[in-house]
Symmetry: C2
Subunit: 159 residues, 2 copies
DNA sequence: CTAAAAAGTGTTATATTATAACATTTGGAA
DNA sequence: TTCCAAATGTTATAATATAACACTTTTTAG
């Protein structure tokens, strides 16, 4: 992965998350940042209860352990801001990889490895345009598009 | 909907279902046909438990009422044969609308109305090709593609 | 500054979606 | 006809997600 400096990736994502939250009058609280950082720690899709387990592992003595609503609230918040996305076909979540300062309303295509869970996210301008045109041809008004490619990543094929 | 004769649609779908099951050495039993017919009765996506409720409504006295595994088994069977598809983004199922005798390995694009649940299914040749090429460019091997467009159908917009 | 409102969090319980495990029945093949 | 494989019935439970309400913290208006 010569092209991906992950420290910079995390730093930039966290910083951008702060900015976008502020710009929408929202607060990126400690809990929300924790969930984001768990998802940023590698580019793998994780289930809500896996995230919850990580939060519990990290939890400070003397406090109750986090419960499902805690993680789902943070996930909802991050989804709203577009900082993470859901893999609908496996009920998992991953940190968005697109620099949204460049491209706020993109059609994301997720390429999810069924071996290791790694997610690559690409932008599809032409693909989005085609879908919107096709929908318009029979009067359908699209609100949201989901494109998920399930398969095996290059790394896992090499193993 | 001048273009869609639904009686013919159901008849053809049921007949084709029989053929494809036979050709794969499988049996389209009464239960499986019941689930398929429930989904064919209109082109709406339904949850597994909604289907189960319909099966229970129809159930004959003197027998136990069907349980969740019953409907999930039938759904799995029909999914395997490509006779139905799952809407991953809402855990629902709909009867496939494509004439698969013409086009067995298509990339299906589902257009799901969030008002009425109606599903239109289109085939995307070019879209599929673009996705496979893009995946190949970074060594990703696609096994399955999910494309779901959520929005409002022409009929519901007119209301 | 302070009271009231709003946003966020903690906690318990429960809803929704899906499957495991094992017993029983059915429909053909040997 | 007996045996095998496929299908079904049944009970229990796993996995995913949210409702509801109490409490705390932050923001805002006066």
């Amino acid at each position: 992965m010569a092209e991906h400096n992950h420290n910079i990736c995390i730093e930039k994502s966290t910083q951008f998350a702060q900015e976008i939250a502020l710009s929408k009058g929202k607060k990126l609280t400690a809990q929300r940042l924790l969930v984001l950082n768990i998802l940023l720690s590698d580019h793998k899709a994780m289930g809500a209860y896996d995230i919850l387990d990580k939060m519990r592992d990290m939890h400070v003595e003397g406090q109750g352990k986090p419960q499902p609503p805690t993680v789902y609230r943070a996930l909802d918040f991050l989804l709203d801001l577009g900082l993470i996305h859901k893999v609908e076909s496996q009920n998992s979540f991953y940190a968005c990889m697109v620099d949204k300062s460049q491209d706020e309303h993109h059609l994301a295509q997720a390429f999810i490895c069924d071996e290791c869970g790694h997610v690559d996210e690409k932008i599809a301008r032409r693909g989005a345009q085609n879908l919107f045109e096709k929908a318009a041809s029979f009067g359908f008004k699209i609100n949201k598009v989901i494109v998920e490619c399930r398969g095996i990543c290059a790394t896992c094929q090499a193993i």
